[in-house]
């Protein structure tokens, strides 16, 4: 709901504007693969923007363009008419301001805990802000804030080695390291992969909180449709390097054939609601979440209190 309000106040035009972007791996070799094929997307300030698609559909290539880890291919003519504008920075330029870009776009990779390296949690989280050239006092303040935002206790954890923490805690520390750079856009690549259910729930709650307090725009790549249904206000579906559509979650998950044909799953609530509906139970098959489904069943069967 907050998303919608935020959107109204934003100026016209997207925070991230991509038009006709093409990318080819191993060009002019026998392994030439077109990973992105004239992709166009607009992500607005305040979006919790989901990107879904099978392995190999181009998701990773697309998000790595957003913080210029993958540079727009300027050789040849494929991208002559392409636009890639992120937070006002034109990434089709020969020498875009990458330092400014990376201040604005924070990237949390898959399994980010593998990238922890420092002796203490405090030093690890401070690495990003220090590299941005931020002074000691402010870095310290940002580190404290980031550690608190990811739900960890600064006094308890700051001087410990990140390597002796649990898997879920390590991941939070890694995310704190990105948040401490105070990005305007946070990109999350499969952020909950490998976590247990409790860890997943906590992390999703954390992202929603971060969106409200510090970083209004979040882009999330996920295979977990429950997560997408719960968090995102818009979802782009990628397939074979193309954008097959951008939908609101409720619209997306009513397109069963599209979802199945892409080898993706429906959220478990949608799956169960449609099964029940098919078997004569009075529920709408398009319940997106557990709460919605439960609410429908309670009103149908008069349960309560």
């Amino acid at each position: 709901m907050q998303n919608k309000e935020l959107k109204k106040t934003s100026s016209s035009g997207g925070l991230i504007e991509i038009k006709d972007l093409t990318y080819t791996y191993n060009p002019k070799s026998p392994f030439e693969t077109r990973a992105l094929d004239k992709v166009s997307l607009t992500i607005e300030r305040g979006d919790f923007f989901g990107i879904i698609g099978q392995t190999g559909s181009g998701k990773s290539t697309l998000i790595s363009h957003i913080n210029a880890l993958t540079r727009v291919q300027l050789k040849g003519k494929v991208n002559d008419c392409a636009t890639v504008n992120v937070c006002g920075i034109d990434l089709t330029a020969k020498k875009p301001d990458l330092k400014r870009l990376r201040e604005k776009v924070g990237m949390v990779f898959q399994y980010p805990e593998y990238q922890l390296f420092a002796d203490t949690v405090r030093e690890d989280v401070a690495f990003g802000p220090k590299n941005l050239g931020i002074g000691d006092a402010e870095t310290d303040e940002r580190v404290r804030e980031a550690i608190r935002l990811v739900g960890l206790n600064y006094t308890e954890i700051s001087e410990r080695s990140p390597f002796e923490l649990s898997g879920g805690q390590k991941r939070r520390v890694a995310i704190a390291g990105v948040i401490a750079m105070r990005p305007e856009v946070l990109i999350l690549d499969e952020p909950t992969a490998g976590l247990d259910p409790e860890g997943k729930r906590e992390l999703l709650a954390l992202f929603k909180d971060i969106q409200l307090t510090t970083c209004p725009t979040i882009v999330m790549v996920s295979h977990n449709m429950d997560e997408v249904a719960e968090c995102c206000n818009k979802v782009a579906v990628l397939g074979g390097g193309k954008v097959l559509g951008v939908f609101a979650p409720s619209e997306l998950f009513s397109k069963r054939e599209l979802i199945r044909s892409l080898g993706l799953e429906l959220p478990v609530a949608v799956e169960l609601a449609s099964y029940l509906a098919e078997h004569g139970i009075p529920v709408r098959p398009e319940c997106l979440t557990e709460e919605e489904l439960l609410g429908e069943l309670l009103s149908a069967y008069g349960g309560g209190r």
Binding site: G194, E290, R305
Partner: protein, 286 residues
Amino acid sequence: MDRSAEKIIRVSNAVYKYNRDTEDEVTALRGISFEIAEGEFVALVGANGSGKSTLARLLNALYIPDEGDVFVSGINTASDKNEDILAVRRTVGVVFQNPDNQMVASIIEDDVAFGPENLGLPPAEIRERVDWALECVGMADHKKGTPFRLSGGQKQRIAIAGVLAMRPRVMVLDESTAMLDPRGKKEVMDVVERIRSEAGVTVIMITHFPDEAARADRVIALSGGRVAMDMPSSAALSDVEALRSIGLDAPLPARIAYELRKRGLSMPEGITTPDGLTEALCRIKN
């Protein structure tokens, strides 16, 4: 001791500590006991840090328990005889989480042949086993290809074939679907079911996913290094409160039945499937 000969796996009061006798000592397993019979399909579940992966490493003698014993087909994994350890590792094969870390050769059939070659088998037998294993995982058409250009699910199936070619009697899958997309997860789960039913391999599957655990006959749940639940999977997966208390989720139909029951609707115990929930709801209506 006769009983241990019957069971393919017997774990008795196993304790395991990391960094033992240092100030960083962490006790991962605090006295674990269970037995698994040949042919069983067991899901080993538990929150992050509950000791699941440590236990997996105890089952093929990668780790030796600090206290208690682990017997594989009657052999104590703490044996100091080399041939005993070899026999344990031949009996129990482990498939890990990340398929990329499990590839050793640039041609798929060479990769699968790596294990049997190391067993010192005659070439004709290696050939036969490799073909059989690739057939089992549905990758026979790819045998001359390279593993590096496969999808995650396909790579993981190659990793499974590599373990299968050693003809283990027990296969441990340590979150082997965690890094895969839905299609890859399904491919791997289907293969697991096939090797269990067709090759008769005992399967121990470590997983966070309740729908995967539901495919097993039995669930062993770990919490804080102890066995918190050990029962048939339908009983374990319908116990919403017990699972929640150790940081796990029951399958959605079980959670819905639980919430409806809490709000006064009559719902029988033991619901874990959409089918079971439908039946219970139909009964209310009539």
